[in-house]
Amino acid sequence: MSKLADPIAATAAGPVRREKLARALFRFRQSRLSLLGAAIVALVLFFALLGSVLAPYPDDVRGSVSTAARFLAPSAAHPFGTNEVGQDVLSLTMAGTTVSVLAGFGVVIIGSLLGTLVGAVAGFAGGLVDEALMRFTDLVLTIPSLILAMAIAAALGPGFENMVLAISLSWWPGYARLVRGEVLAAREEVYVTAARAIGASPARVLFRHILPNCLSPIIVKMSLDMGFAILTVAGLGFIGIGVRPPTPEWGTLLSTARSYMPDYWWTAMAPGMAMFLAVFGFNLLGDGLRDVLDPRGRR
């Protein structure tokens, strides 16, 4: 029966929401660079999903070796050449997108969740809780993240999940500080006072009134961080902690290619460019999102 009251919402909410979305899209579209970023990110996500299926030499992705085809220079058959065991570099790079992007996502999501929780509690509770949490955050922040991640990965052992966990554990402090600052500012807003005056519980005030108004900078930071997370994942792969071969991953590919530089330069080309593109794309997208969601941060 309560459905009967709904026509009001259907007629009013529809156009308004659509109009707001249209306005945001318009602002986003005005910037060519954000669109380019979105396009690159779409491409990266596309390969993350379908890279290993679309790879021209799927057998190479699965680890097959052909010594006869070692170090072939770029050609029509192998646009980015072959590596030291005769595998097609383009195929490996395409397939490597999956691990790199998944790991990047994992890091950013776990890191932002952890950081948001710590920062929100610190900023909202204030006093001793704030003091303790932020000292701990600063402590983690002073340790270079790659080294911390290496230490954690070494302790947990290699592997995809451990790598993601290791990087996330060094990644959250940035979010904690960002969110704490946002919460501290939002806490003083009049509408938050209004919510308290209504009798809303602290949890309601935090989750319904404060956090939703801190969301935009978090999303922007997540998008900007995606690129760096992918780089860090590759960095761990480069040092040899992280995903085990034969699973292709950009950092590992680069690391192997390094030993054959500069003679067989093409082995580093595809993974390097892929990484550059992904980082570039996510950063442009993040900048564009900031313009739409968080106009304060605009230059």
């Binding site: 029966m1 309560s2 009251a5 009001i8 919402a9 007629t11 009013a12 909410a13 308004v16 707001k20 807003e189 009049v190 509408y191 006072t193 209004a194 919510a195 308290r196 005056a197 209504i198 009798g199 809303a200 519980s201 309601r204 319904r208 009134h209 939703p212 108004n213």
Partner: protein, 273 residues
């Protein structure tokens, strides 16, 4: 004598000194022993310069701030003694309308969410289900002169006057008896001020509300309030029926406030050219 709905007894509030990057800020005595009583159904005006402690008093009444000393009684009950549950119940009975309608509405919520939130928070008292809350939200909007089609909109789509109406609807949602009005019209255009004031007068007649009306616009206070108190840097300087204060101010501060206000004289009943 009628029992006061709100009784403030010797309330003091000192904001402690704070250390910051730029040195120490001294402690601020925002309220230095304020006592007043508001009787049910009246409009009590509180007038004072900027920084005289008016907002601090409303925050203390709502117990968003604990007074440093003194007692605040609502219908004879000491608010400091209330447990969390009783305090929450009390917050359905005292509500506030804020000065700045641009800041007092959560930009991420729709009007319906804003107006129904008090009903949600106090659902154990009001006993409204989803449909009931929606109906009452529509009813409240109509009461403050907005329409149902505004329910799904966000605050930023409204003018200042309309936003203040939404703020008033939210304040009324839980069925309060006492409404604190902290300069509810000072952020609005003059033409809109009159509309909102008339709405407030109309609502008081219809709902039998008690108002604690804060303002530094004496013309408005004179128009709306039965009694007035003048506050000056945390101290009540003068208190009494509006007519008396305006006709025969006792203190220099009162004369100063009255002198600073634009003269609103009723012209003598002579034909004018």
């Amino acid at each position: 004598m009628v029992e006061p709905i709100l009784e403030i007894q010797g309330v003091r509030k000192t904001y402690p000194a704070r250390r910051s990057l730029f040195g120490r800020s001294a402690a601020v005595d925002a309220l230095k022993g304020v006592s007043l009583a508001v009787t049910p159904g009246e409009s009590f005006g509180l007038v004072g310069e900027s920084g005289s402690g008016k907002t601090t008093l409303t925050r203390s009444i709502l117990r968003l701030e604990a007074p440093t000393a003194g007692r605040i009684l609502f219908k004879g009950e000491d608010m400091a003694r209330l447990g969390p549950k009783a305090l929450r119940t009390l917050r359905a009975r005292i509500q506030i309308v804020f000065q700045d309608p641009y800041a007092s509405l959560n930009p991420r919520m729709t009007v319906e969410e804003i107006v129904s939130e008090p009903m949600l928070v106090h659902r154990d008292i009001l006993r409204l289900d989803r449909a009931g809350r929606r109906d009452r939200a529509a009813e409240l909007l109509a009461l403050v002169g907005l329409s149902t089609q505004h329910l799904a909109r966000n605050p930023h789509e409204f003018s200042g006057g309309q936003r203040q109406r939404i703020g008033i609807a939210r304040a009324l949602a839980a069925g309060p008896e006492l409404l604190l009005l902290d300069e509810p019209t000072s952020a609005l255009d003059v033409s809109v001020q009159a509309q909102v004031l008339n709405l407030l007068i109309d609502l008081q007649d219809r709902l039998g509300l008690t108002y604690l009306f804060i303002s530094h616009d004496l013309a408005v206070v004179r128009y709306l309030c039965d009694r007035v108190a003048l506050i000056h840097s945390g101290v009540l300087v003068e208190e009494g029926p509006t007519r008396e204060i305006f006709d025969a101010p006792q203190s220099d501060y009162a004369r100063m406030l009255l002198g600073a206000a634009p003269k609103v004289r009723v012209p003598p009943a002579t034909p004018s050219g």
